[in-house]
């Protein structure tokens, strides 16, 4: 768990550069224009990267503890829906809470994060206290949260949001939020007791337990934080789109997990860094954007994404020094 940024993530950073350059080259060959130096493309990449990045930072911590979270996208959607209902401007046609209009932006922001934390807490509690493999409760949460998001406004979006709220998603604000979150959690994971315990639990839960760490409580905390970050992502997503839709954030958890794994987080726990995840998110963003840029069919994108996840996880396994072969 080195504290030096450069050497550990150097290889992933090179991959990022390589991918970007590949698309740049293809851009000139296929489209006759630059991929990177294109101001129209940047905002789109920004949003993709920021929202998934925020989720990915939470997921990274969960994976470091040896767990997984499949509910992030749905939780983000639910959080966004609920937050939006507290962020509506007066005079709108479809007020969710008749009396609650023009609330200060801090209110929906906190509400959104709180909803995410609640969902994360449930995930963590079930995982830690029953010993059930984490993909089951988070899978259940994925379905339930999505269901709740739809039910929240009977399948309708929540619209007519205040300017103060939508400002959270305007311009480069999402990226700034992402950067702050990344910096914050980089410090937390590398310099605080929380971070030390997270790595300990993931590396060897039994050893962590016998050395006095309350493993169960810590896992609940980590999942709660991840949920809170998903909630924040939902808020940003909603602010950017100036409305909350129950179907948003679909499959985002997959991107977040991919980004984390590409960035060096091991699915077997004990390893992973915020800096690596950030680069992983950028790589994913560049690839997604590159595909759109090259007008590659959306259908190919999905297949490619699945292959990328697979490749990333297999590479992670290989990194562990495990020998492959039919056993």
């Amino acid at each position: 768990m080195s504290k030096r940024l450069l050497p550990a993530d150097a290889s992933i950073f090179l991959i990022l550069i390589g991918v970007a350059l590949t698309f740049e080259l293809l851009g000139w060959l296929v489209m006759g224009q630059s991929f990177i130096f294109n101001t129209r493309r940047l905002p789109i990449i920004v949003l993709q990267v920021a929202v998934i990045g925020i989720i990915a930072i939470g997921v990274t911590q969960v994976i470091i503890t040896g767990g997984i979270d499949l509910s992030s996208g749905s939780v983000a959607a639910l959080s966004g829906m609920v937050a939006a209902s507290f962020a509506q401007a007066a005079g709108g046609s479809s007020m969710y809470f008749a009396g609650l209009a023009d609330l200060p932006t801090i209110v929906p922001l906190v509400v959104g994060i709180a909803v995410g934390c609640a969902a994360g807490w449930v995930n963590g509690a079930i995982t830690a206290y029953t010993g059930v493999p984490p993909f089951i409760p988070t899978l259940g949460m994925m379905v339930s949260a999505r269901g709740l998001a739809v039910l929240y406004n009977n399948g309708n979006p929540v619209i007519g949001l205040t300017d103060g709220f939508t400002a959270l998603g305007a311009g480069a604000t999402p990226i700034v939020i992402f950067a702050v979150v990344a910096l914050l959690f980089h410090i937390v994971l590398t310099r605080t007791l929380y971070g030390r315990r997270t790595y300990a639990v993931g590396s060897n839960a039994e050893a962590a337990r016998t050395s006095g760490i309350n493993v169960k409580a810590h896992k609940v905390l980590v999942y709660t934080i991840a949920g809170g970050l998903a909630g924040l992502a939902g808020v940003v997503m909603t602010a950017r789109a100036t409305m909350a839709q129950p179907g948003m954030g679909l499959m985002y958890e997959l991107d977040a997990i991919s980004a984390a794994v590409i960035g060096g987080t091991s699915l077997f726990g004990g390893r992973g860094r915020v800096s690596g995840t950030v680069i992983g998110v950028l790589i994913l963003g560049v690839i997604t954007s590159g595909f759109t840029f090259l007008r590659i069919d959306f259908y190919y994108q999905e297949v490619a994404k699945g292959l990328i996840i697979l490749a990333a996880v297999i590479a992670d396994r290989y990194r562990q020094g495990v020998k492959f072969g039919m056993r």
Binding site: I68, V132, V143, V303, R317, G325
Partner: protein
Amino acid sequence: MSNITQNQSSPLPRETGIFLVLIGVALVFEAAGWMIHGQSFVFNTQRLYIIVLQMAIIGIMAVGLTQIIVMAGIDLSGGSVVAFAGLVAASLAQASSAGEAVYPSLTDLPIIVPLLIGLAIGAALGFVNGSIIAITGIPPFIATLAILVIARGLARWYTSGKQVSFFTPEFAVFGSGATPVWIFLGVVIVFHVLMTRTLYGRRTYAIGSNERAARMAGVNVGRHKVLVYSIAGLLYGLAAVIQTSRAETAQSGTGLMWELDAISAVVIGGTSLMGGIGRIPGTVIGVLILGVLTSGFTFLGINVFYIAIVKGVIVVAAVVADQYRHRNKRGK
């Protein structure tokens, strides 16, 4: 063998408990039906028929998943595989009278062709799942999650998102009337025998119970895993053909979340996610419980999305209950 014939401390069949749950759930809806609608829920042959018919397809998937989960694996790709296999099969089942056939020169084919192709696609994707898991050792949920995405992408790519319909009249045989139920029954019987009386079943339970012990005893674990996932894929292909035939169309959005229903049925039916424990009859009852729940909710006019939430809660509860039941299971 005790864990697959009966509970060693009770003379009753192992599925008694879960069967009582099924009866209980049905009775709850029966009571609610009288109170709310003034009519019976259970004593309605039309409804019972529909329940089984709708669940037959999920049931076939659940049989495949039972084997995987008993082996201590998991497969999240089922629904997407059904979608892709269904589309490919559909594209070979079209009648020449179809307006825009996918393959204009391949119309009016004998129905054995789309059937075999559907099975083959399913088996092939299952083979890929099993191979990745056996060779690289990455956790099954991630491997099959990736295949879920890839298969869904393939489904959308195959006809660029367009539906495929207008099949030959013969193709309807798979999905018409009660045929899906008979096929489901046949699958249940065949695989129950396979799991309880053959080497295949023995090895599946052994690997699920203690993979290391099985390996040390000489079982070719890798090869067996590939076999089990491939067979499950075959069953997804079968489900796909039946679904396509019955719906008279194939779409890229088919099967969304079906694997979750199938996994729920398996878990509710008593199969343990930890492996080594579980039976096909239990899965059948799990499938029925799920069917009764869905039908009951519709009967009472409850919003579909509440069903989704309830299902999510039930699965988690079933898994937690399973965890407690096997608290004292020795470490592998």
